[in-house]
Amino acid sequence: MVATYTAMHMSDGLVNAPTAAVFGLIAAVGLAICASRARADLDERTAPMAGLVTAFVFAVQMINFPILPGASGHLLGGALVAILVGPWVGSLCIAIVLVVQALLFADGGLTALGTNITNMALVGTFTGYAIAWALRRFAARSRTGLLVTAFVAALVGTVVAALAFVFEYAVGGAGGAGLETVFGLMVGLHVLVGIGEGIITAATVAAVAAVRPDLVYLLRGTRPALTLRTPGTGAAR
């Protein structure tokens, strides 16, 4: 049997058609909500930043790093975008990357786009953001705090995104391996991928924070200046 597996994301056929359709709908509704909420986070300073964050995630996703003999991992980018541009804009950044990869680079199937967007653009980003938000005061306190926050948010976000695949496989997997095996392998491997994700995320966030701390969404959120600058909009959302 011939199969393509050199892609980095889910191919078509790994889950059945109804499951792919349901997650396509979930992804579409999720991104529509993100697009609506993203407006409040986008201004003439953050919009250009968000465009470049998108390109940066595409670039870094190309760099597969070794995690075990014969296995590699690459950045998913959810926690990174959530910390830099916020979860609503960040989900859209990852979705753009996934759509371009599927359409131009044959990386990730078209019918698998719903599951890939759900896992990486929505689950990975919002999990990473939830962790980072919970630690935001610690992150704002020192450089070490920011590094640790970014690392933990990226690690947890990666593992939970991997669990989203396990959930989809449990719901409508095409078969080929038992659910317990898939669960154990996905979690085990993505703890290792998540360590790499954590290092890349922490290094990138620290680099941005060193030169333009005002462009780090998570840090702006810890300062009242954000709401003062934009009276009447966004803050209540």
Binding site: A3, S11, D12, L14, S72, A106, G108, G176, L189
Partner: protein
């Protein structure tokens, strides 16, 4: 301490271009975490028709991408070896352009000219 914004953004774009255009040649060719799981239980061997999967694994259910004939498929330009960097640079420019367009469309108007919510252009 803040770097000028334009210089910062240019630096960010250059970093992405260098990573996709140069560093990508150093990327591990091994299957990633997800592919390692979907290939679990199979042995992979190369054939003229592509990769042969022997055994039982999830990846046997995978179907070829609809865009497999894309000139940039598998991060190579026209299927040529050694063009990963060029494909990466194209990808960076395309994603940067799409991101810029989407976020410009979604962006609220500047200070003092804020549109009332609900009277805004389409999302897509």
């Amino acid at each position: 301490m803040n770097a000028p914004r334009s210089r910062f953004l240019l630096g960010f774009l250059l970093a992405a271009l260098v990573i996709a255009g140069g560093l990508s040649y150093l990327a591990s060719p091994d299957p990633d975490g997800l592919d390692s799981v979907t290939l679990h239980g199979c042995t992979v061997s190369g054939t003229a028709a592509g990769e042969q999967l022997d055994g039982t694994c999830i990846a046997q259910n995978a179907t070829e991408s609809h865009t497999a004939a894309s000139p940039l498929a598998d991060y190579a330009v026209g299927g040529r070896d050694g063009t990963t960097g060029l494909a990466g640079v194209i990808g960076v420019l395309v994603t940067a352009l799409l991101g810029r367009l989407l976020f410009r469309v979604l962006r609220r108007p500047g200070d003092g000219a804020r549109a009332p919510s609900g009277a805004e252009p389409g999302k897509d």
